[in-house]
């Protein structure tokens, strides 16, 4: 099982500064995204030129293999695949090519191919990525593809997700209210501002990249983890739920293995493929919890 601890501390601190000081975080993130896109484009072009010069048109993948059931795969190993490169090719495309062409036993979860089903989070060149939205052209070769760290490997790139699902379901992840508007076809009112406030948190695709990147979760198996706390945030901040329910939600996230475990390392925020500001959400819930406790003091 691959258990490298992500080397992200330095980078995380940098992000921490920009994240906490920037006045408009959305703008900041988008600007950052554009900068990254430009950088990627330059990098890609440079790489493509280099490749053309070397007349190289295949990429080398080193893929983690393990199968408890099959003799010869019970000891984890890396297999190398050479895949013909095409412009726009993603890590998922390359894996599918390798599977359909060379080895049909190569196993990984995937479905939508467009970053919404959350099936194909993996550890690519030492970082948690969604394989379907990770461009091959942006990666250094050979490309190392491993299962998500800090989870039990079922087979090859497939990990056991049960623990992640259990944590998600531990925060009462469903809308609760005591009051509905009268009238059969009446919706609850929600301000645009409030919808905007919860919007990013509702984008979670349950890929568990954040959980896998979190050192705290790695050391404390009972820690709810960034995704589950973000789910709690999504409801606690939704003005359609009443104050008494918010109270209950704050109690859940304040438990021993809840928000106070977070040490603000930002690794979850770094890896989230949907750009959810997870650390910010956790911090905000901490503040809410403190305010709430003062109220009753």
């Amino acid at each position: 099982m691959s258990t490298q601890i992500p080397k992200q501390t330095e980078k995380a601190e940098e992000t921490a500064e920009t994240e906490t000081e920037a006045p408009s975080k959305g703008d900041e993130r988008r600007a950052e995204k554009r900068r990254r896109a430009d950088e990627r484009r330059r990098q890609r072009e440079a790489e493509e030129a280099e490749k053309a010069a070397a007349d190289e048109n295949t990429v080398e993948l080193r893929v983690f293999r393990y199968d408890p059931d099959v003799e010869g795969k019970q000891e984890p190993r890396f297999d190398t695949f050479h895949v013909p490169f095409e412009k726009g090719m993603t890590v998922l495309d390359a894996l599918m090519y390798a599977r359909d062409t060379y080895d049909s036993s190569l196993t990984f979860r995937h479905s939508c191919r467009q970053a919404v089903c959350g099936s194909d989070a993996m550890f690519v060149n030492g970082g948690q990525k969604l394989a379907c939205k990770t461009q091959i052209g942006e990666l250094e070769e050979p490309i190392r593809v491993e299962p998500l760290p800090h989870a039990e490997v079922t087979k090859d790139l497939v990990v056991d997700m049960e623990h992640f699902y259990d944590q998600m379901e531990a925060v009462e992840p469903y809308f609760q209210t005591n009051e509905y508007p009268e009238g059969e076809l009446e919706e609850q009112r929600q301000t645009r501002e409030n919808r905007e406030k919860i919007k990013m948190s509702t984008r979670c695709i349950w890929c568990s990249a954040c959980m896998s990147s979190c050192n705290i979760a790695a050391g404390d198996n009972e820690y709810l983890g960034p995704a589950a706390i973000n789910k709690a945030y999504r409801f606690a901040m939704d003005e359609r739920e009443g104050e008494d329910i918010k109270q209950k939600r704050l109690e859940i996230i304040e438990q021993e293995h809840g928000v106070w475990r977070c040490q603000t390392q930002f690794s979850c925020t770094e890896v989230c493929p949907k750009d959810i500001p997870l650390t910010e959400h956790i911090q905000e819930l901490k503040r809410e919890a403190v305010k709430n406790n003062l109220k009753f003091w």
């Binding site: 049909s104 939508c112 059969e184 919860i198």
Partner: protein, 609 residues
């Protein structure tokens, strides 16, 4: 063996809604799905949910638009049920906390969509399906409904009478992907198929890799006819390199299509002089391909969809997800440049024949959502009508299976009433290759009672798995891509006789190749090679029925265009195509479309936008 009152196969929008509904009626319900529910492809739906919520709108207008969009091949009782019940279902989702986009006054927003006479599409940004899927899964968690996730359902367990109308469904057999075991699920009340789309029949599709039409294929082999399979929707705006969907919401908000010369061709070349980009999807897809075929496409492949003029603020507010998709999957920045788009397979209007309660001709077997054909969409589905179909018909099927009294259905199933056999003679062999086993119904077995049937079927499924794992032979992947290639080449937006015949020949060859298929991964743990091999069989059965229907229907209706007769022929073809597996010898037949609604009859009119 597991036992529940109601077993739902599939955990997307229709499956989750069906399970919740069955539980509301007091049933013990279980969901069996090859993916964890939040991985379902409902999550990829972008645009929205049509619902006549406001005073200035009405369900009757929604029904009229839907019937016109369907090119008069929808069945009125189903269309009217959809349009009447969609508003309460949308409000139900809102009450479950779904984060809809909002107006200034805090009410749910609505936007214009193709083919609609009123801006009635409710939405949550350009990620409506994701929000809907997660909201309903939250309800499943809240209610403690049992979910068997990563179980691949292999076949239905049905009795073996000669006439499918006499058969009864008692459950399913499924393969536990994690542990590599076959087991049975007995359903004392009913089995509801909600397995979604079948886009993997084609090679340029917005559908997920998992959308292999499993439910349609297993119902077909058990004796339920497939209805209107030739009507496949090609969405006009998909990214050229991957098939990733760019929502109709972009055009709904004012996005414009341009050809290589910078002409706004929807108007300038007269494809839709009134509605332009917001004409029905079939119209826009044909227009784009005509532009490309006549040399006005970009790189001879695609056209441009431009939304820059909408402004950054509006784009970020309503279409943010589109920016991410265009950037991540095509390297295009929608804020500063037009996005390349071309038509791609998107949706199957046809599927398992059902009535408006979701019942099939086999007792105890239901279907809802994209895998079913009630028929709501007829020859062409309107944008924003798929998501309401999931919740309205998911709920109806769930209620009925749990025993709720819903009255007599108006839509007949099976060969009752005014059905007629097809006169078309196929030149190529179709159907099963080789020996078909002792039972007449594939998935059927000969046994004294339900328990015995399940036991026999579990045993048969185990043997099939063992056989696939132990034999030597060909890999399924080459067979699957041969099917996808011929379907995309010959059964696409523009169809002609020679190509359609060619596809049937290619499919026959693929079927023969499939008799030699084998799984090379011997593992009992998470064997995706085995699952994909079984799915490829489903793809083959569906592709063949689809091509048969397309070859026989010599007219141009909705999404089905024929070179030989480029106009709608109401005199001969105002009828549904049905293909019955007929125990291995597929048979084509027809039944009339039902245009008589509750208060009025929908008279076919010239369909212009």
């Amino acid at each position: 063996m597991h036992e529940h009152d109601v077993v739902v196969v599939g955990a997307g929008g229709a499956g989750l809604r069906a399970a919740i509904a069955a539980q509301e009626e007091g049933a013990d319900v279980a969901i069996v799905s090859k993916l964890h529910p939040v991985r379902s492809h409902t999550g990829a739906a972008e645009g929205g949910i049509n619902a006549a919520l406001r005073d200035a709108d009405s369900w009757e207008d929604h029904a009229y638009d839907t019937m016109k969009g369907s090119d008069y091949l929808g069945d009125a009782p189903a269309v009217e049920a959809l349009c009447k019940e969609s508003p309460e279902e949308v409000i139900q989702l809102e009450h479950w906390g779904m984060p809809f986009s909002r107006e200034e006054d805090g009410r749910v927003s609505q936007r214009p969509f193709g083919g609609l006479s009123f801006p009635r599409t409710t939405y949550a940004g350009a990620e409506t399906g994701h929000q809907m899927l997660h909201t309903m899964y939250e309800q499943v968690v809240k209610r403690g409904i049992t979910v068997y996730d990563e179980w691949h359902v292999m076949d239905l367990v049905v009795t073996d009478e000669d006439d499918p109308a006499d058969r009864t469904c008692h459950g399913v057999v499924a393969y536990d992907i994690q542990r590599g075991e076959v087991d049975g699920f007995r359903a004392t009340g009913g089995v509801i198929l909600a397995t979604g789309g079948m886009g993997q029949v084609f090679d340029h599709t917005t559908n997920a890799v998992a959308n292999t039409g499993d439910g349609v294929a297993m119902a077909y082999r058990a004796g339920v006819p497939m209805e209107d399979m030739e009507f496949i929707q090609f969405h006009p705006t998909t990214l050229p390199s991957t098939g990733v969907l760019i929502s109709e919401g972009v055009r709904g908000e004012g996005g414009i299509l341009y050809n290589e010369k910078g002409e706004r061709f929807m108007f300038e070349h007269g494809y839709a002089n009134n509605d332009g980009e917001l004409a029905s999807r079939d119209v826009v897809s044909r227009a784009e391909l005509t532009e490309v075929n006549e040399g006005r496409g970009i790189e001879d492949e695609y056209v441009h969809l431009d939304m820059r003029h909408l402004g950054e603020e509006r784009i970020l507010d309503r279409l943010e997800n589109i920016l991410h998709l265009a950037e991540d999957f095509e390297g295009a920045d929608g804020l500063t440049e037009p996005m390349p788009v071309k038509p791609g397979q998107h949706y199957a209007m046809g599927g398992i024949e059902t009535n408006e309660h979701g019942e099939t001709v086999i007792e105890g077997l239901y279907a809802a959502g994209e895998c079913a054909c009630a028929s709501v969409h007829g020859a062409n589905r309107l944008g924003g009508n798929a998501l309401p179909e999931l919740i309205v018909f998911g709920k109806r099927a769930g209620h009925h299976a749990a025993g709720k009294e819903m009255g007599e259905a108006e839509i007949p199933t099976g060969r009752t009433g005014d059905w007629e056999p097809a006169e078309y003679e196929f030149e190529v062999d179709v159907g099963a290759v080789g020996d078909r086993g002792p039972a007449a119904a594939d998935g059927g077995a000969v046994a004294a009672d339900a328990e015995g049937l399940l036991e026999a079927e579990i045993e048969r499924a185990r043997e099939r798995v063992e056989d696939l794992l132990s034999r030597k032979g060909r890999n399924h992947a080459e067979i699957r891509s041969a099917v996808q290639e011929t379907m995309t080449a010959n059964v696409n937006v523009f169809r002609e006789e020679e190509g359609l015949k060619q596809s049937l020949e290619d499919l026959r060859e693929a079927r023969e190749a499939y008799t030699e298929v084998a799984v090379s991964d011997p593992s009992r743990t998470f064997n995706t090679d085995l699952i994909h091999t079984m799915e490829t069989r489903n793809i083959l059965d569906i592709a063949e029925a689809l091509a048969m229907g397309a070859l026989a229907r010599r007219e141009f209706r909705g999404a089905h265009w024929r070179k030989e007769r480029q106009e709608r022929d109401d005199e001969n073809w105002l009828k549904h195509t049905l293909v019955s597996w007929n125990d291995g010898e597929p048979e084509l037949w027809y039944k009339p479309a039902i245009l008589e609604g509750e208060a009025k009859t929908y008279e076919p009119k010239v369909r212009s936008y």
